[in-house]
């Protein structure tokens, strides 16, 4: 199965009232909120990324014995050095672009990120990464709560979601996030032309301005529609962007190009959400090549193009990308040449201000080793994922992470900035 869009409201209907400003004030608000400013691009790998084949502990004999057909041969990995525990590590051979970023010192690899009693359900686990609360898979998301801290009225484009639906991480009680997968189809259509079309748009605007008292479900649709109408023109501006580097012709590459357009054209969004799926590799995942190799190429080539485009346009020092997945996968391959749902994974952080390198330590994959769990079937976490979130909030976005995360995770945060 593919996972891409299941992080949403499955526990009933959210009655979100969007704090959208009137369109004429938008630019002023964006400026008041400090354009240009730091921005965070969150990349979600849907389905559960097999971290052991992303960052490979290629001198661990158990890696090869437990993965007889899907292990990456030591001669093909892209070496990145030795971590604090002395494990020798390398990137998947299709991540050549990310190796360049690593060698520039701008890629942080945070190993064994997760939480206690890691959920093996895609949906529950995805929700937990969204809420940033291992005990609650419902309610608002950590990025939504960040947006709630921004001054009101909130710019309608304070965040930009490039997937079609709103992931739980962006859910909030007070801040709506537009979903703009493709700027060029984000337009207003009418059966008529000329003044009749203009009058129709005006009528649609008036109709959706109805706050619909006593009808929260209708109010939600109205506010969504209003958000669309109010962002059309700025999005159209962003979609005129011509990148400085060609992006790969993949859904992921095109989403990153959309993000780059918004950044370079000065839309001013603080948070961008990008996702790419296909990581639920239960069968025939391959090793250096094959299905997983293609996933790595899509990821690595897309991020490398984006990184270069940001550098060429002078945006790199204000841009940070963080990559995560809802869980990693079993250590031992299954009978189908794939891997089933596992536990702790890998977070990657890149950008012009990132302190790159190997953070945390790799597991030792020999059965019985204390870095493992679930009868040595899975990797146990070392770094709480919330401490990485905390560093993003405190160290990058410049807000206090404690109320947003509902706890103090700063002490254990890896030094990625």
């Amino acid at each position: 199965m593919r996972i891409s869009r299941r992080l949403f409201i499955r526990d009933g209907v959210a009655t979100v009232t969007l704090g959208l400003a009137a369109p004429s004030f938008l630019t002023a608000i964006a400026q008041a909120q400090g354009l240009p400013s730091r921005r965070l691009v969150v990349v979600y790998l849907g389905g559960g990324n097999d971290a052991l084949n992303t960052l490979i502990s290629y001198q661990d004999p158990s890696y090869y014995s437990r993965r007889p057909t899907i292990a990456i041969p030591a001669g093909q990995v892209l070496p990145v050095g030795t971590d604090a525990a002395g494990r020798v590590l390398g990137l998947h051979p299709r991540l050549g672009g990310l190796l360049n970023v690593f060698n520039e010192g701008r890629l942080a690899l945070v190993q064994r990120t997760g939480y206690e009693n890691s959920s093996r359900s895609h949906f529950e686990a995805g929700d937990i990464w969204g809420t940033a609360n291992p005990k609650a898979s419902t309610g608002s998301g950590w990025l939504g709560r960040y947006l709630d801290t921004l001054p009101r009225p909130l710019d309608a484009l304070a965040a930009w979601n490039t997937s079609a639906e709103t992931p739980r991480a962006l859910l909030s009680g007070q801040s709506g996030v537009p979903a703009i997968p493709n700027g060029s189809t984000y337009t207003f259509a009418s059966p008529n032309r000329g003044s009749a079309a203009v009058q129709e748009r005006a009528a649609a605007q008036q109709m959706t301005a109805n706050p619909a008292p006593g009808r929260p479900h209708l109010a939600l649709v109205n506010s969504t529609s209003r958000g669309a109408l109010e962002t059309l023109d700025r999005v159209a501006q962003a979609s005129t962007y011509t990148p400085t580097i060609p992006y790969p012709n993949t859904g992921f590459g095109l989403a990153l190009k959309t993000v780059a357009g918004a950044i370079v054209k000065g839309v001013g969004s603080r948070v961008y959400w990008v996702q790419t799926g296909g990581y639920d590799t239960h069968a025939q995942q391959g090793a250096a090549g094959g299905a997983y190799g293609n996933l790595m190429a899509t990821l690595g080539d897309g991020l490398w193009a984006f990184y270069g485009d940001m550098r060429n346009t002078g945006m790199l020092n204000d841009t940070t990308v963080v990559v995560f997945s809802e869980f990693s996968r079993r250590i031992s391959e299954n009978g189908s040449g794939g891997t089933d749902h596992g536990a702790a994974g890998l977070m990657m952080v890149l950008g012009g201000m990132v302190r790159g390198g190997l953070h945390g330590t790799a597991a030792t994959l020999a059965p019985g080793h204390p870095t493992l769990e679930n009868s040595s079937g899975d990797v146990h976490y070392e770094t709480d994922f919330r401490s990485v979130y905390a560093r993003m909030l405190d160290g990058w976005l410049g807000v206090n992470s404690v109320p947003i995360l509902g706890g103090d995770f700063r002490a254990a945060a890896p030094a990625i900035f």
Partner: protein, 486 residues
């Protein structure tokens, strides 16, 4: 549709896809109980909708080559949309849509495994059109209101499911957990009612439930196929113990059996899961959200009662749905329009209400994709994000832009049909709102609609004025927030 009584309108929206002008003739003099019986007891009427594809007075289909809905996924999508619009068994198609979401299986993974032709065939092949098993959608139509346990068993042996959740690779040496997990998490009891060891045990239960290819199989041969096979040699025969009862005496262990009898493991587990009280409650909650309300939490009394109907009728769905549609909650005024339309429902209803003259259903592919519901392409095995999850600025624009496309295509037809009512702007507005049925408009949006009709200058009711304003009005109504609710 507003000409019918509000209870019938509500029933047709929820248990069908709304009503076209022709449907209104059918239902005009029918009492509510008659409409209910028409919908629920549909088997008396022939399943003849596919035979009407190509008729000029119906929505059109179009294809690059010959229309081939058994082997081409876009043609299969058109056929299904045609069925939703023109079927005389609306509840059957509605339930097929419900089960498609419940057992969500995506074309893209099948195509990576078996190529486009076989992937489409696995999902949409209508029996006897070609050699090989029926497509998954036909299972959902066959069991639309049938026996859940039997459907679950057919789904477990369905080639598309065996590819989708990797059952084809589930072997004795390396049990495959994917189907074993999802059959509990999503198809039956739900998270919290099974354990991780149950997942391993379920994987072992289904070892050997694999696929085989027809003789001389080729991905590109329309008469080639893959079909279920029980590979006895690949069945793991040891006993499997679960955290919940497998047998009516409370025994939790599937006994060790010889390989030749090993398929019984799967029958036993599927039966146990189908009759599990949490499955009954989970289905009851899903039916509440689908048929009654997404805005109100499932009423505990409803969940208990619907679950009981399911269990007492030995997992038959028809009595449960009949119960749902006649339960006191179904007709509460506050649950009318208290559910968000799925994109496919929205599109089908809009076409039924606005019109389909010379309208090709190939046109709806891209809009449905942009709205977030390309049929046969759910985002993952959990199905689509329902309810408010359908709505984002991008998907809402896709809805309103589809409304514009549809209204533009029906411009001349609307001008002709509304000529008499269009003598006055009020007449046009009243007639269009009777035709295009949205949740009630508060005064400000209602005034905005009237202002739109008058914005082009004084009303003279000329052809060109009617041409422009009727289509613009249809676009505003179908694209309104009120119309996104059913």
């Amino acid at each position: 549709m507003a000409q019918l009584n509000p209870e019938v309108d509500h029933l047709l929206r929820r248990a069908g896809f709304g009503a076209s002008a022709a449907d209104m003739e059918t239902f005009r003099d029918m009492p509510l109980t008659g409409v209910l019986s028409y919908l629920v007891d549909y088997e008396g009427r022939p399943d003849d909708v596919d035979q009407r594809i190509g008729r000029p007075d119906h929505a059109q289909v179009s294809s690059k080559d010959l229309f081939a809905p058994d082997i081409d996924i876009d043609d299969a999508r058109q056929r299904w949309m045609f069925r939703m619009i023109h079927t005389r068994r609306p509840l059957q198609e509605k339930m097929a849509l419900f089960w498609h979401n419940h057992f969500a299986t995506a074309f893209s993974k099948l195509t990576a495994d078996s190529g486009n032709l076989q992937a489409a065939k696995m999902l949409a092949h209508k029996p006897v059109a070609l050699r090989g098993p029926q497509g998954q959608l036909e299972i959902f139509r066959k069991y639309a209101l049938g026996n859940y346990r039997d459907m679950l068993l057919e789904v477990a042996m369905d080639p598309s499911m065996l590819v989708w959740l990797d059952g084809q690779f589930n072997t004795r040496g390396k049990p495959q957990e994917n189907f074993g997990r999802e059959v509990m998490e999503l198809f039956t009891v739900g998270v919290g009612h099974y354990t991780e060891p149950d997942v391993y045990a379920a994987a072992r239960v289904f070892t050997g439930w694999n696929l085989r290819e027809s003789v001389g199989y080729s991905d590109r041969d329309m008469n080639a196929y893959k079909e279920f096979v029980y590979n006895a040699d690949e069945h793991e025969t040891s006993a499997k113990t679960f955290s919940f009862p497998i047998y009516t005496d409370g025994n939790r262990t599937v006994p060790s059996r010889g390989v030749s009898a090993g398929m019984q493991d799967g029958y036993d587990l599927i039966t146990a899961l189908a009759v599990h009280p949490e499955t009954a409650r989970r289905l009851a909650r899903k039916f509440w959200n689908f048929f009654i309300s997404e805005i109100h939490e499932p009423d505990p009394g409803f969940v208990d009662a619907a679950a009981n109907v399911y269990l007492q009728n030995r997992t038959e769905i028809r009595p449960v749905v009949r119960y749902v549609l006649t339960s006191p909650w179904f007709n509460l005024p506050e649950v009318r329009y208290a559910r968000y339309a799925w994109p496919s429902e929205y599109v089908a209803r809009a076409i039924k209400e606005v019109g389909w003259q010379n309208f090709s259903l190939a046109t709806v592919r891209a809009p449905l994709s942009n709205m977030g519901q390309l049929l046969f392409e759910p985002p993952n095995v959990g199905g689509w994000p329902l309810g408010a999850g359908w709505f984002s600025t991008g998907t809402m624009l896709a809805r309103t832009n589809f409304a514009a496309t549809l209204a533009a295509s029906q411009k001349e037809m609307l001008a002709v049909e509304l000529e008499r009512d269009g003598q006055t702007p009020q007449g046009l507005l009243t007639a269009m709102q009777a035709r295009v049925t949205a949740a009630p408009f508060d005064a400000p949006p209602q005034q905005a609609l009237m202002s739109y009709l008058l914005a082009g200058g004084s009303w003279i009711g000329s052809d060109s004025q009617l041409n422009t304003r009727a289509a613009g009005l249809a676009r505003l109504l179908v694209g309104s927030s009120e119309y996104q609710l059913v």
